[in-house]
Symmetry: C7
Subunit: 97 residues, 7 copies
């Protein structure tokens, strides 16, 4: 499905994984007492990158289709055709898996 949404700056749109606790590659995302819970999702749109202090664009590390791990409270939630998405900054993403 194509998502008509172009995130600004270093933002990305991520579709969270359904209520499973394992990523495709077998990574388990536990709920730990004193740490934020990591969440798994897939990148569906990427911005053009943020602007460095000297005015140059910094290119993005993630690309559409990447499976990513991010922290629980990252991003703003939107819904398209009953599917939930999050618009977050690339810096909210911990790793590609």
């Amino acid at each position: 499905m194509s998502l008509n949404l172009k995130p600004l700056g270093d933002r990305v749109v991520v579709q969270p994984k359904k209520a499973e606790e394992k990523t495709n590659s077998g990574i388990f995302l536990p709920s730990t007492a004193n740490k934020e819970r990591p969440i798994s999702g897939v990148v569906v749109a990427v911005g053009t990158g943020k602007v460095a202090d000297n005015g140059t664009k910094v290119s993005m590390e993630v690309k559409v289709g990447d499976n990513v791990i991010y922290t629980e409270y990252a991003g703003t939630e939107i819904k398209v055709s009953d599917e939930k998405y999050l618009i977050m900054r690339e810096s909210d993403i911990l790793a590609i898996n």
Copy 2:
């Protein structure tokens, strides 16, 4: 209608969408417990861009006519001919849709 208003720096003027919960392109903007609610609007004026730390202008990503999604508390409200507008920074805009 022409709006006689030139936002300063990286600010934009956005006209919020009326009390509908779906954007033109079918994006639903839900109210989520622990996250800020996203709002949809259209850009009616753009500033010339902010100045980077090295003194150069950073060009704007949005342009007049763009449909945008921004967070609930962004911007300062003004009214022109009974229409409500918001003056906000481009960084308050999450995505173009």
Copy 3:
């Protein structure tokens, strides 16, 4: 009337509009529950601009005579010949109208 006052850096001197709620160009400035109230005024003096992190001057966007909109708590108040003025930073100005 000439105002003998040279604001420093990126500061400007603004003469607030009297207790009307509409700007010259018909913009209404409402008092909104959870947002700062915008105020209208005219620029009567401008500084030479702030210095960027690399030591170069950043030129000002506003000029004497500009009608501007700024937020309620911006600036420090002074009085000249019974007229009220505000010394504020250019970044406190939202837009030229």
Copy 4:
């Protein structure tokens, strides 16, 4: 009277005006409910300027003899021959009048 005091960096030494409420050029400095009170004084010594992030000196805008307006809580107080002076940063000065 000569003041044997060389302020460091972007600091200046200012001699506050006596308990009058008007500056030389007729500017009245009112006490406003929710804003800091502006104070008038004369610059008696200036530093060589602060160092920008790229290591270059930024030259000062004010010079000895300038009448300046600054906010109430700016600076550290010293006394020379029973006269009160304030050592403050140039950024605490709002305007030259």
Copy 5:
């Protein structure tokens, strides 16, 4: 075992040492009253490095296989095949041992 996980920016993936209190090289990591407890682990994945303010990549100091010491609350915990890992920033690592 190969870990299919690519940390973003200046992040690294570290596998904490089991509940021993000594590192391989004989360093003891005590629990001190008013200081954070240091923890020992081994680096299993490294990001490509963070981007400096002028837009250039800063290369990483640690590499896969390094034994490292980091502070108690560093990172976000994930699990792969019942093994616990932490995704943290390189700046959370105190030393290689």
Copy 6:
């Protein structure tokens, strides 16, 4: 007396003046209600200067032998041969007198 102490970065070592309230050049340092009390001392050692954001050294403004005024809570106290000294940053020094 020679003090075997090399302050790091932009730090200086200052020997505070004894419990007199006037500096050599006749500056009186009053205790003011809502402002930090200024203190007088003499510089006995200077660091090589701090490093600017672009990696270059910023040379020091003060030199050994300078009489300086600094604020009450500046620095860390040490004692050499029963004499009290303070290690502080040059930015804690208000002026040379």
Copy 7:
């Protein structure tokens, strides 16, 4: 004794002096009411230096063998062969003595 520990970035490893209150060069480190107590130690390992905002390495001021003075709460404590060490940033070091 050789310490197998390579601190990262601008960190150093310092071995605190035993419970004496005087440094080798006769500097006494008093406990002062409203100031942090200075502590004396010897540098046993140094990092390669931090990275400036423009991406260049800043070389370290201290070297192995330097006697240094640092503040009481600096660093993270580790133990090697019953000896106590601290891993701290070079900026936590006040002076070489």
